[in-house]
């Protein structure tokens, strides 16, 4: 039954979100994003998050490119990338990613290349995990919207 699907999806989403909050993957800033979503910007969260993914992958590539360079010495440039990553991550509530950035930044300020490499791996990992989870969430949301539409076709039109 479609109706049952909607409720189940909603429950699943709540559960997933709860887990992500428990794990510290997301923090209350993510809730703030959700609150900003309304009729005037109905896809706000996914829009912002998609920009975040796009930008973050650029940053990660840059960071990796910098660190893998044998002649790497431009910690300052790395710091700039990190600052941006920190800022954007905290703006969407990507708490763990932001935390790793902080540690990464510390290593970079000490010109600790090995530490930076480790931090980069950790960062990439955390980012991938976050991305997976958010994709899951958005998929569920899409399904829920579809299911809700199918369930109450008349009501949708009334809106």
């Amino acid at each position: 039954m479609l109706g049952w699907g909607v409720d189940r999806l909603r429950a699943d989403m709540s559960r997933l979100l709860a887990i992500l909050f428990h794990q510290g993957v997301l923090d209350e800033q993510f809730l703030q994003l959700q609150q900003l979503q309304d009729e005037s910007s109905p896809n706000f969260v996914s829009e912002v998050v998609n920009i975040y993914f796009h930008e973050s992958e650029k940053l990660l590539r840059n960071l990796r490119g910098l660190l893998l360079d044998r002649e790497f010495s431009d910690y300052k440039k790395m710091g700039i990338h990190l600052n941006q990553f920190m800022g954007s991550s905290s703006s969407i509530g990507a708490n763990r990613v932001r935390n790793v950035c902080v540690a990464f930044r510390a290593a970079s300020e000490q010109n600790n290349r090995a530490g930076c490499l480790r931090a980069l791996e950790l960062l990439e990992h955390e980012y991938c995990y976050l991305k997976n989870k958010l994709h899951e969430l958005f998929q569920m949301e899409q399904q829920r919207v579809l299911a809700a539409g199918a369930r109450y076709p008349l009501q949708q039109q009334q809106h």
Binding site: R8, D27, I51, E57, E109, E121, L122
Partner: protein, 643 residues
């Protein structure tokens, strides 16, 4: 929504709807932050214009400063330093500017404030903070009533003072008080002068007051006039006469002179450095003067005494007038800002290095503290995961599975991380390397002998975590862990063994031999092997630099093919597929990443089956010869020695 094109100085404030419709210019090169900020501001019912370039922002402001009431700007922008923008806006347009940054390092906050920011916010900006920003607009208007009548000003002055003292809750409050004091002084000064002179075009009731822009030439005239008289004896009237510039009022000169004097005072005492800043935070007038006036004042710094030459940049580096305020209220913003954010611990400030580090770690400490709380509750949520209705695709289930593992991992690693950072802070060993500081944390599950070399130690620290990690995880948490100086890797023989692997993976005759050998291994060695695994994986990841990457991958592939571990293959493919990595990420470098991950996946999941571990080690070992310092020789390998 306001549609009136009101001028600065009156209509806006008196409108009942204010702060609704307050016009804000938001500047940030980060598109995410900009979008979120814009949305938040709109939610507060402000009118928002955004741009991602400081230069564009300046142009927009210069085109018509009356179009905006407030500017919010990021500190770190590629095309122009945020502090520079701040100065220029304050000086040229006299608009209140709020700074925005992703980190709250004291030096930046200080710099922001001294460059004239009315507030300094940390990302992520919250709605509550934004709801109050209109007060900065009000304050400015009340204190710069040049185009308003006298008596209403006085009333407003008093009102404003009251407001300023009571109303502010942000970290900028103390600073606001200082500013109020300073502005009152200005006000009085201006009143006096205007009383004597009669009006120029200033107090004429016309709303649109022409702003004086202190250009290079103008300023140089000013300076030479001042020099002629001597700084101490310079008075606005005489300067004005000497300058002989049309359209310039004594009032203009007076305020400029005041700023100039303050500026000189500041830079003449500017010894510098963060060390001085520390004493400044001891809340002491004199020490403020000793504080480093930072980069923006580079030009001024080169000047000494009256015979100074000024350039436009130096002009712009003049803080639009919070100096006096700050001098008057020493305890001011910074202490309050720091105290209220609760991040920094005074004990950590003393060294230059420590200053930087300490300012980083507080974030870590604070946030990790909260995440460790949350993570500890993860175990209770694990059953939920397991009970989760089956996902309709394997990807989903794998994700679930990995997320199942994640919590335990992360709990460990985060605990470690927490200990690490908090210990770091507590010990106040700001000079220590990041790495050594993290040593404080104990690695729970392993007991190892002291490592033969420091490289090993370093590598193990990063890699040990790999053991615990889930298939997807390749570095995760553990990277933060301290080198396991306490942890021991057992046996020289074992190290030799692994070294051999590193050196000559291609010499292995067949996988079968490996399997035989591995089966002989005492499962109890798992831990040690695990440690070496992590060492390997860690090396692999950091050794991703290596050109033998390709070899490794190929070798790994062959090993995978021969693997007799069911779980192994199961995890291999899903892992690789499961990664929600964009095609974009699949660059050459990133393939390494994936490989590393999948390889680690083998290792990490199954160290019941040692051949998996061996596989992983062999795959990754090739790169590591150099890292291992050439300590390992194939010749010394003997299977028996490792049992």
């Amino acid at each position: 929504m306001m549609t009136v094109d009101y001028q600065r100085g009156g209509n806006l404030v008196s409108e009942k709807k204010f702060p609704v419709g307050m016009r804000i210019l938001a500047v940030d090169d980060d598109p995410i932050c900009l979008k979120v900020l814009e949305s938040l501001l709109r939610k507060c019912q402000y009118e928002v214009t955004t741009t991602n370039q400081a230069i564009t922002a300046l142009e927009m402001l210069r085109e018509n400063r009356n179009k905006y009431d407030l500017v919010i700007s990021d500190v770190n922008m590629p095309d122009m330093d945020g502090f520079k923008l701040l100065e220029l806006v304050g000086l040229e347009m006299d608009l209140p500017v709020i700074m925005l940054s992703s980190h709250g390092d004291k030096e930046f906050v200080y710099k922001g404030v001294t460059h004239g920011a009315v507030d300094y916010l940390l990302k992520p900006v919250r709605m509550e903070e934004l709801k109050n920003i209109w007060q900065h607009v009000i304050r400015r208007k009340k204190w710069y009533p040049k185009d308003q009548n006298r008596s209403p000003n006085q009333d407003k002055v008093d009102d404003g003072a009251g407001e300023g003292e009571h109303g502010v809750t942000s970290t900028g409050s103390a600073d606001q008080n200082g500013k109020l004091n300073r502005k009152r002084k200005d006000q009085d000064e201006e009143d006096e002068e205007e009383g004597e002179d009669g009006d120029d075009n200033e107090v004429s009731g016309n709303q649109k007051k022409p702003r004086v822009v202190w250009s290079v030439d103008l300023h140089q005239k000013f300076v030479s006039a001042v020099n002629q008289m001597g700084l101490d004896k310079a008075v606005p009237k005489k300067i004005l006469d000497l300058m002989n510039v049309d359209g310039l009022t004594r009032e203009n000169v007076a305020s400029h002179l005041q700023k100039f004097r303050l500026y000189l005072k500041r830079i003449s005492c500017g010894g510098n450095q963060q060390g001085n800043m520390v004493s400044a935070y001891g809340a002491n007038d004199a020490s403020y003067l000793r504080m480093n006036s930072a980069d923006g004042f580079g030009d001024f710094r080169s000047m000494h005494g009256p015979g100074i030459q000024l350039s436009t940049t130096s002009l712009s580096s003049y803080p639009p007038g919070t100096l006096l305020g700050r001098l008057n209220s020493p305890g001011g913003l910074t202490l309050r800002g720091i105290a209220s954010s609760g991040l920094l611990q005074p004990g950590l400030l003393p060294t230059n290095q420590g200053f930087t580090l300490a300012s980083c770690f507080p974030d870590v400490k604070v946030t990790i503290g909260s995440s460790s709380n949350t993570i500890s509750s993860v175990t209770s949520s694990l059953p939920i995961l397991q009970a989760n209705p089956q996902q309709n695709h394997s990807k989903g289930s794998l994700v679930t599975q990995s997320s199942l593992r994640m919590p335990s991992l992360n709990q460990e690693s985060f605990d470690v991380g927490v200990h690490g950072s908090s210990n770091f802070l507590d010990r106040s060993r700001c000079d220590d390397s990041w790495q050594s500081a993290v040593q404080l944390s104990a690695f729970p599950s392993f007991r190892h002998d002291p490592l033969p070399s420091s490289t090993l130690r370093d590598n193990i620290s990063s890699t040990t975590s790999h053991i615990v990690n889930s298939p997807i995880d390749f570095s995760s948490t553990v990277s933060l862990r301290a080198p396991l100086e306490d942890s021991r890797v057992d046996m020289q023989g074992q190290t030799d063994f692994i070294g051999n692997i590193f050196q000559n993976t291609t010499n292995y005759i067949s996988k079968n031999r490996w399997e035989e050998n591995s089966q002989n291994y005492n499962p109890g060695l798992n831990g040690s092997f695990g440690a070496m695994n992590s060492l390997v994986s860690g090396n692999a990841s950091s050794g991703a630099l290596n050109q033998s990457m390709d070899q490794r991958k190929r070798f790994g592939a062959s090993m995978i093919g021969q693997s007799n571990s069911g779980t192994l293959s199961m995890f291999q493919h899903p892992d690789v597929e499961n990664f929600a990595l964009d095609p974009k990420m699949r660059s050459n470098e990133d393939v390494t990443l994936e490989q590393t991950k999948s390889q680690n996946g083998f290792v990490q999941n199954n160290y019941e089956s040692l051949d998996d571990i061996m596989n992983a080690m062999m795959k990754q070992g090739q790169n590591d010869a150099s890292l291992m310092g050439g300590e390992f020789r194939f010749g010394s390998f003997s299977p028996g020695s490792c049992m």
